[in-house]
Homo-oligomer: 480 residues x 2
């Protein structure tokens, strides 16, 4: 493809994207295709000779769109939001154009340096403790990871390396295997599945501790578990506090967990994947009280801060242990300026990395802090608007406190009727929700996801739920 | 940012990217900035109110470009290539516009299904054994990973899960810790640093075995190591064969390693990160003789097949063990169509994933197999052209056989004079190389990287090296 064609094709794509997003309400949020729909629409093999770009363009509506779940429709309320904004899209275009691989400073100094500074900008927006910032000349600093799962795993591996080192000093007679078999980490039973998975991947025990009735992991619960485990000869080394769980957007008691972890020399990682974006608003920062006790902190601007996936922001007070855990340094990756700025390959699981700081830069500059705060506040207000609608209908109940942009609710009564309602909602395809279950209680989750969402969309979503609930409840009458 | 501004901004960016790439020869391949150059160019904090997009656009040349290493310059010969093409850039724009997260089928059926079919297209282009393809109704199939590092780790974790299961059946009295402490994996001492790192991350022993004089890991070397380890009570479980090492693009003897691994029930992973793209040309497929013995195979279209990062293609004959190793399945991620098509979240380290199959689709269609083959062949020819230039200058020697697009060479004589030459070359900044070292011999690597590279560029690079060598050798005269 020649440059001239690229300019035509890419500009046509710009218009296609603009049209797609501005008219996304017109599309059914959930596709109707059955598994396997796509293969028959394509040839069995790649073409020998090039197709025309116009044909590829035309196939988007024919082949791709029938199978797309429209995450940016105001009627998409599943999971948590994933970000999408015009400044981020343009920044990723530039990243693709430059297409450098930023595994070391020399591999593209701008790629590393913009990331260091953007992570400082972002850290300041959240009022993170200074120890997390690179500009304070301590050890700390931030990095863009691909996902929160990776951040949780990286923190766990750093904590593991630190714990092994310390145990070896205290018990020179123990080998690595012995020590690792004694390590135990902790999280709430409300933590994201990726925390349990990090334990599996890292090959260490990870205990899921019971949350209290407000779905918070409390300090005394952790303290008790640590004591128990020490008593049994284990080595507590890592704890994850979740701020804004996926199940119900509940918040662990960080202000209680922090002192326990510090006292017990347990690495404290804070996973605020969804909720962290809200901390750019001062009125929500009470939710991260205790953050000064954390060793690492992570949230996803690619969820709720308008930076397209992937951009998971992670800060470390002392990256040394992570760097040492991963450091395998062949000659072809060495360079003369090592040590002045980070070589981010030592801070992450993959070696390669795109120029992702560009989209953070573009979004922060082209929205400005004020508009990003306004965006968060609007979503929280819309969630409360939906909450009010639910509360006004006495057939329904709110399952857990609405703190940010997620409403957990259910029909009063059996789980079964809620399961039927959920199936009806997604089967009808006008809106999309996913359920969750805590203890024995099944409930529905409605997340405010799209940057296009307005009050009228919330009214529509509620009407859809209410109307389908009429049917479910009518069928559920005894004697019917 | 309103849609109208997005269209202007994005189209301006299209032209910027086109101009940047078409005129990339005019830029110094290596930047002259010192570490820390960027911070003073930016404000200390994010702006409160939005900037204009025109100002952001203007800052690209002021802030970013002075610190960019231009990976797509024909004068960039470091590392290995990273891909960049117009079709891939446009496809990634569409991926950003749709911005779905494809962790399960239902989360966007098109995202999963296009990936399944594209991995079949690609597998057929390489003539991979049918067991790797999804269309053959076996268990096999492909997935797009972020990087080869992740593929190596995923394969290791699958192999580990399989080995633990089997050991438990044979020795019900052993627990996981005991078994894992006995596991041992293998790779050549020429394998990429990410293989050693996968062992560290996965918490298992990984032995680096000596390659032969042609830098190949041989079957009898592996066989001997396995016997030794079994004799010592260990459990050999995983081996990585590298096709196209980073050091010198050498090839392990897959046809010897394969039968050993199969016989010994050792999971064989083939890492062809760089060289794999060449296998779309029938004349290079002899380099993967023995591939039918592999359990998993990986190469990076984002290196040498014109698909922008990240697109690392991995195939598994039986993904069951990987899926089971990672499977942590909360209610909010379950859906009704599980099992028909893969839920790719179980095949990878992160949970989230972008719609990356689009760029594979666009590249395969808009180049066609024929032009992709021509691209590979041209790079190999250019490497041989450079090789010939080196061979004609009797001050130089070729270090190892030139098979694909990498030439390893050095000044005859001491390592020191080669180290000086390398420093001169990169200091001068007209071209960019990185060195490597095998045994005691330090040498220079010249990789053909850019899709813009022509014969005249190779001549220029050689002239630069030759001229700087004149200086180095003149200074190196005894008595001077």
């Amino acid at each position: 493809m020649e440059c001239k064609q690229f300019r035509e094709f890419a500009k046509d794509m710009v218009d296609y994207i603009g049209d797609y997003l501005e008219n996304i309400r017109d599309r059914r949020v959930l596709p109707t295709v059955e598994p396997g729909y796509l293969r028959p629409l394509l040839p069995e093999e790649a073409p020998e000779n090039p197709d025309k770009w116009q044909d590829v363009m035309a196939d988007i509506e024919k082949v791709i769109m029938p199978g797309v779940t429209h995450w940016h429709s105001p009627r998409f309320h599943a999971y948590f939001p994933t970000a999408n904004s015009y400044p981020a899209i343009v920044a990723d275009m530039l990243s693709s154009g430059i297409a450098c691989i930023g595994f070391s400073w020399i591999a593209s100094p701008a790629c590393t340096e913009l990331e260091v500074v953007m992570m400082d900008w972002l850290g300041k927006m959240l009022e993170l403790p200074k120890e997390f910032l690179a500009s304070t000349n301590g050890k700390g600093g931030g990095i863009i990871q691909g996902t929160a799962s990776e951040a949780t795993l990286v923190a766990l591996l750093g904590a593991k390396a630190k714990a092994v080192l310390r145990a070896k000093q205290e018990h020179p007679e123990w080998n690595d295997v012995t020590i690792i078999s004694k390590l135990v980490g902790y999280a709430s039973n409300q933590a994201h599945s990726s925390v349990e998975r990090a334990g599996l991947l890292g090959g260490v025990k990870l205990r899921l501790l019971p949350a209290d009735e407000k779905l918070r992991l409390r300090g005394d619960t952790l303290q008790k578990a640590i004591q128990e485990d020490r008593h049994n000869g284990l080595i507590p080394f890592y704890a994850v506090a979740t701020l804004g769980t996926t199940n119900a957007c509940s918040f662990d008691s960080l202000d209680e967990l922090g002192p326990v972890c510090n006292e017990e020399s347990v690495w404290l990682h804070v996973d605020a994947a969804y909720a962290g974006s809200a901390f750019i608003c001062p009125e929500f920062r009470y939710l991260m009280t205790g953050i000064e006790h954390a060793d690492s902190f992570n949230f996803n601007p690619h969820k709720w801060m308008l930076v397209n996936f992937d951009c998971s922001a992670m800060w470390l007070k002392d990256p040394t242990y992570v760097v040492n855990a991963f450091n395998v340094d062949p000659l072809y990756l060495k360079h003369d300026q090592q040590g002045v700025l980070p070589d981010y390959r030592h801070w992450q699981i993959p070696l390669g990395r795109r120029f992702r700081a560009l989209k953070l830069w573009f979004v922060l500059r082209l929205y400005g802090v004020r508009n990003l705060q306004a965006f968060i506040r609007k979503h929280v207000a819309l969630a409360h608007e939906f909450e009010d609608l639910v509360r006004q209908d006495n057939r329904f109940e709110i399952f857990s406190e609405v703190v940010l942009g997620l409403v957990c609710f259910r029909l009063k009564g059996s789980n079964e009727r809620n399961e039927i309602l959920l199936k009806r909602i997604n089967g009808h395809g006008v809106i999309h929700l996913v359920p969750s279950k805590i203890g024995d209680t099944y409930f529905l989750r409605l997340a405010i996801c799209s940057r296009f969402t307005e009050s009228q969309d919330i009214q529509l979503s509620w009407n859809e739920i209410r109307t389908l609930a009429d049917d479910v409840l009518a069928e559920d009458q005894p004697g019917k």
